[in-house]
C-alpha cells in the first residue's frame, strides 16, 4: 500500500494564489478587480535607514527644542499658498468610493491638525467643504460633477493626469456603489458600472495643459495654487513637463498608491514604486532649477513617520496619505463603531466578503464592514464621524511626532532640512533607486 501523499512545496510560478486566480477567471470570465494598492513586496522606504546623531552630528532634544513642521505649498505664481501645520496631507479619494461619513471625518481630522484634504472623481460634497478647512479640488479626466462654483470655493486645484494605482487607466466605480446620490452627482444612471475616461476631454498633451492651467487660473482670478498629479511612470519627463506647463506643485503617486477599485493587473504591474519615484522627481526639479519654486508632494504607501521622513529627505516637500488615513479611520479593523460609543464586532462582514480583518482589499464591493468604502446607509452608520475624525487626527499627530523624532535625531530643527545624505540603504536596489550609499560602504550603484 502506498504511503501518505506528501504535497510538494508550492511552485514559485504557479503558487496556490495564482492557481486560484486563474480558476476565478475561468469560472466568471472576469478579471480580478480590487481596492487598495500594490500588495507584493517592492523596494520601498523600509530598505532605507537614517544615519542619526553621532560624535560629529548632534541631536536636538525632544519636546524642548523645536522641530518645525510648517509647510507652505503653491506660491510659484503668486497665488495664496496652502499653509500646512504638518507636511502630511490627505490624498484625493472620491465621495462614491468613500461614504459621506468617511469624507466628513477625514475633513474634520485634517482641519483639527492643520492640513488639507482632496476631493476625488465625483466632485465636491458640501459636507467635505464644510468639514475641511483646506480643500484641494481635483480636475479629472471624467469631470464628473465638476462645477466652476466648487472650483471657486476651493483652496487649491489639482489637475489629475493619473494616479499610482493605475497610471493610464481611468476611474472605476462598480454599479453597487453608484447609488442615487452618487449617480446624480456624476450625471450617470444609477447602478451602472462607471467607466471613466483616462484622458482629459478638453486638452491632450503638455502644450495644451499650459493653456488649461491658464484657464483654471483665469476662472479663479489667480487666487489659488495649481497642482498637477501624475502616477509614477516616466517621472523625470512628467515632472519637467508639468513645471513647463505652469504647475505650482507637482504630486507624484507611486505604485503602492491605493484605489477603491481597479483591475488587479494595473495595481501590480503598472507604474514604479514610490522609492525611485521620489528621488527621480526631486532630481528632475533640481535639474531645471525649480526645487525651490515648485513643491513636490509624494504619495503611495506612506504608513509612518519614518516614511514621511524618508520622503522628505529624498526631496519631497510633503507627502499625501490615502490608505493609511482610511486604516486609521477603521479600515481592516475587526470592530466598527457601535452604539453608545462602544464597539461592534464586524468580523462576519469580512468573512462574507471572503476575507478577514487585516487582509481586506474589497473596497470595490461596496460592502465595507466598517462603513468607509460603501454607499449603503446601514453600513455607513457603523462609522461615526466624531470618533472617526478623532482617530485620524490621532494618527496624523502621532505620525508627525515620529517624523520630528527622527529629524531631531539627525540634528534638524526643521523637518524640511532632512536631506539624502541622512540616509543609507540596506539593499543594492534601494541604494540605486534612492541614490544613497549601501550601508557600510561608499557605493551608490549606477553612479
Amino acid at each position: 500500500m502506498p504511503g501518505p501523499v506528501e504535497p510538494a512545496a508550492p511552485s514559485a510560478t504557479f503558487p496556490p494564489e495564482v492557481i486560484e486566480r486563474v480558476h476565478h477567471m475561468a469560472d466568471t470570465g472576469q478579471y480580478p478587480i480590487r481596492g487598495l494598492g500594490a500588495r507584493r513586496p517592492l523596494p520601498s522606504f523600509d530598505d532605507l535607514v537614517f544615519l542619526t546623531a553621532s560624535v560629529s552630528r548632534y541631536p536636538l532634544e525632544g519636546y524642548r527644542e523645536r522641530c518645525e513642521t510648517r509647510t507652505v505649498l503653491g506660491g510659484r505664481h503668486g497665488a495664496r499658498p496652502i499653509e500646512l501645520d504638518i507636511p502630511i496631507t490627505i490624498a484625493g479619494m472620491s465621495f462614491g468610493a468613500l461614504s459621506a461619513a468617511a469624507k466628513e471625518a477625514l475633513g474634520r481630522a485634517a482641519t483639527a491638525v492643520g492640513t488639507s484634504t482632496t476631493t476625488g472623481d465625483g466632485g465636491m460634497t458640501p459636507e467635505e467643504r464644510k468639514a475641511s478647512d483646506k480643500l484641494v479640488y481635483q480636475v479629472l479626466p471624467s469631470r464628473y460633477g465638476f462645477d466652476p462654483a466648487d472650483l471657486r470655493s476651493a483652496d487649491a486645484v489639482e489637475v489629475v493626469i493619473g494616479q499610482g494605482a493605475k497610471p493610464g487607466g481611468g476611474g472605476l466605480l462598480l454599479g453597487q456603489k453608484v447609488g442615487d446620490r452618487v449617480a446624480e452627482m456624476r450625471t450617470l444612471p444609477a447602478g451602472i458600472d462607471q467607466r471613466s475616461a483616462s484622458r482629459h476631454p478638453d486638452w491632450v498633451g503638455p502644450d495644451d495643459l499650459r493653456i488649461k492651467i491658464e484657464e483654471l487660473r483665469e476662472a479663479t482670478e489667480w487666487r489659488i495654487p495649481v497642482y498637477v498629479k501624475v502616477g509614477a511612470t516616466r517621472v523625470d519627463h512628467d515632472v519637467k513637463l508639468a513645471v513647463a506647463a505652469g504647475a505650482d506643485v507637482v504630486v507624484v503617486d507611486g505604485m503602492q498608491g491605493g484605489t477603491a477599485a481597479t483591475q488587479d493587473v494595473f495595481i501590480e504591474h503598472a507604474g514604479i514604486p514610490t522609492l525611485p519615484a521620489v528621488r527621480q522627481a526631486a532630481e528632475a526639479l533640481a535639474e531645471i532649477g525649480m526645487e525651490r519654486e515648485v513643491q513636490l508632494i509624494v504619495s503611495g504607501g506612506i504608513r509612518s513617520g519614518a516614511d514621511v521622513a524618508k520622503a522628505l529627505a529624498l526631496g519631497a516637500d510633503a507627502v499625501s496619505i490615502g490608505v493609511a488615513a482610511l486604516v486609521a479611520l477603521g479600515c481592516n479593523r475587526a470592530h466598527a463603531h457601535g452604539p453608545g460609543g462602544g464597539a461592534l464586532d464586524v468580523t462576519d462582514g469580512y468573512r462574507a466578503l471572503g476575507t478577514l480583518p487585516g487582509r481586506c482589499a474589497h473596497c470595490h464591493t461596496g460592502r465595507c464592514p466598517v462603513g468607509i468604502a460603501t454607499q449603503d446607509a446601514e453600513l455607513e452608520r457603523r462609522l461615526e464621524t466624531d470618533r472617526g475624525a478623532e482617530a485620524v487626527a490621532n494618527f496624523l499627530r502621532a505620525t508627525t511626532m515620529e517624523l520630528t523624532a527622527l529629524a531631531r535625531a539627525c540634528g534638524k530643527s526643521d523637518v524640511h532640512h532632512l536631506e539624502p545624505e541622512d540616509l543609507v540603504a540596506l539593499t543594492v536596489e534601494a541604494a540605486a533607486m534612492a541614490r544613497v550609499p549601501l550601508a557600510g560602504t561608499r557605493w551608490i550603484p549606477g553612479g
Binding site: 484622458r199 498633451g205 503638455p206 502644450d207 495644451d208 499650459r210 513647463a244
Partner: protein, 313 residues
C-alpha cells in the same frame, strides 16, 4: 510640447513674401514652443531679394550648418572660403552657416568639416532647402535672422518646448534625413524604440535617440525605395503608433497626416495663392485671403499631399 507650421506658395507673386507670411505663423506658436525653433525654407536657384539665400542662388547644393557648441562661425566661414573658393559660397547666419556648392564638392566639404570642425553639425543638405535651428524664443530667432525678408516657395517650421534642461539643436525639428526632405512632428510615438532597432539593423544610422527622428528616417527609407510622398507617409502612419501630426516637405511638395485619434491639433487653409498648415487656427488668421480660404482640420489617418505645381490635395 510644440507647434508646427507649413506654408506652400502656389502663386509665384507671393514668393517674395514667404518670410513675411511665415514669421507671424511661427510667432503665434511661440507659447507652444518657447525654447527653440527650427525653420526650413525652400527656394529656387534664382531666388531674389537680399540676405543669405540670395548668396546661395545658383548653387547646386545647399548645406546648412549649425551647432550646440559655441562655434566661431566667422572662422569656419573663412576656413571654408580659403579651402573651397571660388566653387563654394558661404553665407553667415547668427548661429550657423549656409554653404552653396556644386554637387561634386558637397560630399568633400562635409568630410572636411567632419575632420576640421567636429563640433559643426550638418543640419540639412539639398538643392532647394536651407535650415536654421536656434534656441530661445521663436520670435527672437525670427528677428535675429531677419526671416521676414527671406523669399522662397515653401517653408516648414517647428517651435519646441524642451523637456531636458539642455535644449539641444540635435533634437530640434525639422529632421532632414535625406536631401531636401524635412520632417516635423507634433506628438509622441509609443513604439519608436522598436522601429528604430529594426531600421538600425537595416543599416540606417541615427543622430539622436529622438522619437521624431525615427519617423524621419523611416520616411527617407521609403522614398529611397521608390514610394511617392503619399505612399511613404502612409507607411509611417502604419508602422508608428502613438499620437502625431506630421508635416513633411520635399523640394516639390508638402504632406500632412494625423494618427487615428488625432489628439495633436492641426488646421489647414487652402487658398488661391497658398496652402498653409499650423497647429492652431490663429497662426493662419493673418494670411491674405484667409476669409475666403477653405479652412479645415485634417481628418484622422488621411494623408493630404500638395505639390508645387498643382497644390491641391
Amino acid at each position: 510640447m510644440c507647434g508646427v507650421v507649413g506654408l506652400l506658395i502656389k502663386d509665384p507673386a507671393l514668393e517674395p513674401r514667404l518670410g513675411s507670411l511665415l514669421v507671424p505663423m511661427i510667432e503665434a506658436l511661440g507659447d507652444r514652443g518657447p525654447d527653440s525653433s527650427g525653420i526650413a525654407v525652400y527656394s529656387d536657384g534664382a531666388a531674389g531679394g537680399s540676405g543669405p539665400l540670395a548668396t546661395l542662388a545658383g548653387a547646386e547644393v545647399r548645406i546648412s550648418l549649425g551647432s550646440d557648441a559655441p562655434v566661431d562661425w566667422p572662422s569656419v566661414r573663412a576656413d571654408l572660403e580659403r579651402r573651397f573658393s571660388p566653387v563654394a559660397t558661404v553665407s553667415e547666419l547668427p548661429r550657423g552657416l549656409l554653404v552653396g556648392a556644386p554637387m561634386r564638392h558637397a560630399a568633400e566639404i562635409q568630410v572636411y568639416l567632419g575632420d576640421q570642425w567636429p563640433e559643426v553639425r550638418v543640419l540639412a543638405t539639398g538643392g532647394a532647402v536651407a535650415v536654421i535651428k536656434d534656441t530661445g524664443r521663436p520670435e527672437e530667432t525670427c528677428s535675429r535672422h531677419a526671416l521676414s525678408e527671406w523669399q522662397g516657395y515653401l517653408a516648414v517650421a517647428h517651435t519646441r518646448m524642451a523637456t531636458e534642461s539642455a535644449v539641444t539643436l540635435l533634437h530640434s525639428h525639422p529632421f532632414v534625413p535625406a536631401a531636401d526632405l524635412c520632417v516635423v512632428h507634433n506628438g509622441s510615438f509609443s513604439n519608436y524604440a522598436s522601429v528604430r532597432r529594426w531600421l538600425s539593423s537595416q543599416g540606417v544610422r541615427f543622430d539622436s535617440d529622438n522619437d521624431s527622428e525615427v519617423a524621419a528616417r523611416l520616411l527617407a527609407e521609403r522614398l529611397a525605395a521608390g514610394d511617392d510622398l503619399a505612399e511613404a507617409t502612409r507607411w509611417v502612419m502604419k508602422e508608428l503608433d502613438g499620437f502625431f501630426t506630421l508635416v513633411i516637405t520635399t523640394a516639390t511638395g508638402m504632406s500632412v497626416v494625423r494618427d487615428a485619434f488625432a489628439c495633436k491639433p492641426a488646421a489647414v487653409a487652402e487658398a488661391d495663392g497658398y496652402v498653409a498648415v499650423a497647429s492652431e487656427y490663429r497662426a493662419l488668421a493673418h494670411l491674405p485671403g484667409i476669409a475666403h480660404a477653405r479652412v479645415f482640420e485634417p481628418r484622422p489617418e488621411e494623408v493630404y499631399t500638395w505639390t508645387r505645381s498643382t497644390a491641391t490635395s
